[in-house]
């Protein structure tokens, strides 16, 4: 059984991002690039399915500039079998353009499962998974919190307000992963050495015209320094007053 995992490379959440001179993209200097954290659950999910079946192939796909190969290599080190790099340098391409490019590459692979993170930690748009499933004509379960495969049916649970939703979906299907779906493995030393020999197939692609335009990117306003109103019980009336009258939060 062939499975595909779509991976996005994003700035490490600990990176202090700056907006570039054009006012629309991130300044890449000093940014550490990592796999989108939700995509780690996707890779782990696919690897677990493959390991349980004792056979199959996991293909990872990423769209982006030359740098994404580090992240692809990292997923190969975790255990994926091969990678496809859809090469395109567009900074922050729109979700539909990405979904179309992924769909074109994935269609010919004819996978039983397509895995993605529920969203990417940089733009948080959460659109590519559902759009991709639509383009592929496959059912999609978003924000999966648990996953089990029984024959050709996937049993997926989703966290909803006050409970859990249980869904059954026949394969082939698209799954987007929530945090906690599994415990993503660390690449092992052997895996890292083996990844060296696995192939990353490069394909230059054209994204076509953008469907939406990102007009401006702004950092949130810097937070003002805190104020200590006093200590112990005596400070409570002033604290309540400040919260009510100055901050207007209570």
């Amino acid at each position: 059984m062939l499975q595909v995992v779509c991976i996005k490379q994003v700035p490490d959440t600990e990176t202090r991002v700056k907006v570039a001179g054009d006012g629309r993209t991130l300044d890449p200097t000093g940014v550490t690039w990592v796999m989108n954290p939700f995509d780690e659950f996707a890779v782990e999910g696919a690897l677990q399915v493959k390991e349980k079946a004792g056979a199959g192939e996991v293909v990872v796909i990423s769209l982006g500039g030359a740098g994404v190969q580090t992240t692809l290599r990292n997923s190969l080190a975790m255990g994926a079998d091969r990678a496809i790099h859809l090469k395109n340098d567009t900074a922050a391409p729109d979700s539909l353009a990405v979904a179309k490019a992924l769909a074109a590459a994935i269609r010919e692979l004819n996978p039983q499962l397509v895995w993605l993170g529920k969203s990417a930690s940089d733009d948080d748009a959460a659109q590519v998974g559902p759009m991709l499933s639509e383009l592929l004509g496959l059912p999609c379960v978003t924000v999966a919190a648990s996953f089990a495969l029984e024959g050709t049916v996937a049993k997926v649970e989703r966290e909803i307000e006050g409970g859990r939703e249980q869904i059954e979906v026949p394969l082939p299907a698209v799954i987007t992963c929530d945090k906690g779906l599994n415990q993503p493995r660390y690449p092992s030393l052997k895996g890292i050495m083996a990844a060296k020999k696995k192939t990353i197939e490069e394909r230059a692609i054209d994204l076509g015209a953008a469907h939406v335009e990102l007009v401006a990117l702004e950092l949130p306003p810097a937070r003002a320094a805190g104020r200590i109103v006093g200590e112990g019980a005596a400070a409570v009336p002033e604290l309540v007053r400040a919260l009510r009258e100055d901050a207007k939060v209570i």
């Binding site: 490490d12 959440t13 600990e14 550490t32 990592v34 796999m35 954290p37 780690e40 290599r73 990292n74 080190a77 493995r185 660390y186 690449p187 092992s188 030393l189 052997k190 890292i192 050495m193 990844a195 060296k196």
Partner: protein, 396 residues
């Protein structure tokens, strides 16, 4: 995954392969995310957090340099050294655990053992299913192990061991002890050191834990007591003869320490930088005072030098030209600077430096052991002195 700030001032990473960097960062992430949350409690309560053993094994951190056919990762010495650095950035006890399992137990089985012993033990040790310990030091013989009292006597079908070992890392938790003892060598007509595999549960063998340590508290240290312990012929290391055998293992482990302690120093340095930028005294961050900057500059410089020394030692190992005295220089220097950096870091952290809120005092106390074990600082000085002058200065 979160990436800790690495000390890459001299473009150190440009001297590493992509795989070496990937290995270092994977182990570093694991230490940050899985080990650091456990270590303070383990240190306070003085135990090794055994729950990490399967995870260490899964990543391939036991006997990482040994061949894949024994279930090991088969990586080069630099990649191995970098794993030691990251583990010791966590805690010297964690690095000790991996050093002992790999360099001091799996390595001698690989190097001095029979093929049968290798296939029997190495794959299970790589998986962390069998934990090993290395018994050389005795209560009365530390720096001079050649004087050891533990004896092996040839009997029908095997040997009988008598004696005692002390300061043995992992002793109490070990399933397999590599015990070095003197045995009468028929060929040489005199006694010579031989290595034996003593299995847990063997009659007459016990390994009580040595408690109340102020250093390496997140690591188990034990005595090994051997009273008429029968060891079958098949459990003697056939090629492990003479003092050079255990010393060969120590050279492996010391190389790991030369890298490892750089990790502990990095942890102390990084904490010091953060602290000195945040701690305000006399109206400005203490990092703004020249005296504190002088300390930071010195710490930083020593870390960069130590990194390069360890790396070159590894590159020479790859080419098979690294001699024990090269390893002595790196072990001696790097332990000394790491301990010195930990002490300076303790000072920069003021009173906070003595608490478990910060990793400083833990590393500092640990490094006291690391400076002593695997050849004390003095002994490595004498190794270098002998190498320079050609005159051994160990004894009168």
């Amino acid at each position: 995954m979160a990436r800790a700030t690495r000390t890459d001032f001299y473009d150190f990473d440009s001297l590493l392969t992509e795989e070496e960097i990937a290995i270092r960062d994977a182990v570093g992430d694991w230490v940050d995310e899985r080990f650091l949350p456990l270590v303070e409690k383990a240190y306070d309560d003085a135990y090794f957090p055994t729950e990490v053993i399967p995870e260490l094994a899964e990543m391939g951190l036991f006997g990482a340099t040994l061949p894949e056919k024994y279930g090991c990762a088969g990586v080069g010495p630099v990649a191995y050294g970098l794993t030691m650095q990251e583990l010791e950035r966590g805690d010297s006890g964690l690095r000790s655990f991996a050093s002992v399992q790999g360099a001091l137990c799996m390595y001698p089985i690989f190097e001095y053992g029979s093929e049968e012993q290798r296939t029997k033990w190495l794959p299970r040790m790589a998986k962390g299913e069998v934990i090993g310990c290395f018994g050389l030091t005795e209560p009365d013989f530390g720096s001079d192990p050649g004087g050891m009292i533990t004896r092996a006597k040839k009997v029908d079908g095997g040997y009988v061991l008598n004696g005692a070992k002390m300061w043995i890392t992992n002793g109490t938790v070990a399933d397999l002890a590599i015990v070095w003892a003197k045995l009468f060598d028929e060929a040489k007509g005199r006694e010579s050191i031989a290595g034996f595999l003593v299995e847990k549960g063997t009659k007459g063998y016990s390994a009580p834990e040595q408690k109340r340590k102020h250093s390496l508290r997140a690591s188990v240290t034990s005595e090994l007591v051997l009273q008429d312990v029968f060891v079958p012929e098949g459990n003697r290391l056939p090629e492990g003869n003479g003092l050079k055998a255990p010393l060969g293992c120590l050279t492996q482990a010391r190389f790991g320490i030369a890298f490892g302690v750089v990790g502990a120093a990095m942890a102390c340095f990084e904490s010091s930088v953060a602290y000195s930028k945040n701690r305000v005294m006399f109206g400005k961050p203490i990092g703004g005072f020249q005296l504190v900057q002088a300390e930071l500059a010195k710490m930083h410089t020593e870390i960069i030098k130590a990194q390069l020394l360890a790396l070159q030692c590894g590159r020479m190992k790859e080419r098979g030209v690294c001699k024990p005295e090269h390893v002595s220089m790196a072990k001696r220097n790097n332990c000394e600077i790491a301990l010195e950096i930990a002490r300076r870091a303790r000072d920069i952290h003021g009173a906070n430096g003595i608490t478990s809120e910060y990793p400083i005092m833990r590393h500092m106390n640990n490094l006291e052991s690391v400076k002593t074990y695997e050849g004390t600082h003095n002994i490595h000085t004498l190794v270098l002195g002998e190498n320079i002058t050609g005159i051994a200065a160990y004894r009168g």
